[in-house]
Symmetry: C2
């Protein structure tokens, strides 16, 4: 599903960022609870998309579940897992036209052995002011 | 704007996560480029929402712009700024019913002196399988 901003003329302008949200269901539950494996998968997904990794933070919760963020030069790639449900939420925020985040999607779906992957793509920072630059619209 | 999943019966079930996306326009440009101030603001926003901070990662880019993520026990709060446009993209992913992320929204809007704040709220992990647990729907 692609969620576009409804303001007229939005699509004529480039947004500042693109934000991909993935709902990964029926994944391999062991992988969703394995911090090292998830961190390696997210870093590989970032690399495949063409992003440059700046820093990573991963945390495993008790009794289960992992949260992880890969900060990239082009923004961030994050994952939150619920091994007990076989579910993972991923979001990949990018700026710059050179990032192909669909490659990250394909890789993560495979790495987590997800049976289903629901996608939302949002464009960020797309509103333009009267001067044509990012800003509140005239009627805000 | 609230983006609900379109599948029938979705709203009868609790989602696993809630994801708040903020578009902050016409902010104070100096604040958007000040890493220490942004980090303090995001941590305070997380605290006000009731979240428990686990770790933070902030990075300042050349020539301008900051990316920062506060990993919280309830998921993450992230910001990406474009000082040159006075724009900041914020996303706050939470799980658990105890987090009031509207408090974080109110605080950040004020802290960044944003003239306009556009909101999208998405429910994550809301799809249910035949057994009523999170999973791919029967017709996936």
């Amino acid at each position: 599903m692609i969620v576009f901003h409804k303001r007229e003329g939005f699509m004529k302008k480039q947004p500042l960022g693109r934000h991909l949200l993935l709902e990964l269901y029926a994944c391999d539950r062991d992988r969703l609870d394995d911090l090292a494996s998830l961190e390696a998968a997210l870093k590989e997904a970032a690399r495949r998309s063409g992003a440059t990794i700046v820093e990573t933070v991963f945390h495993r919760f008790t009794p289960h579940g992992v949260s992880g963020v890969v900060v990239v030069a082009e923004s961030h790639l994050a994952i939150h897992t619920w091994p007990e449900y076989g579910y993972a939420a991923v979001d990949f925020f990018t700026c710059g036209a050179d990032i192909d985040y669909w490659r990250a999607r394909d890789f993560l779906k495979e790495a987590l052995v997800a049976e289903s992957c629901e996608v939302k793509e949002l464009l960020r920072g797309g509103r333009r002011g009267a001067d044509g630059r990012p800003g509140p619209a005239e009627n805000d």
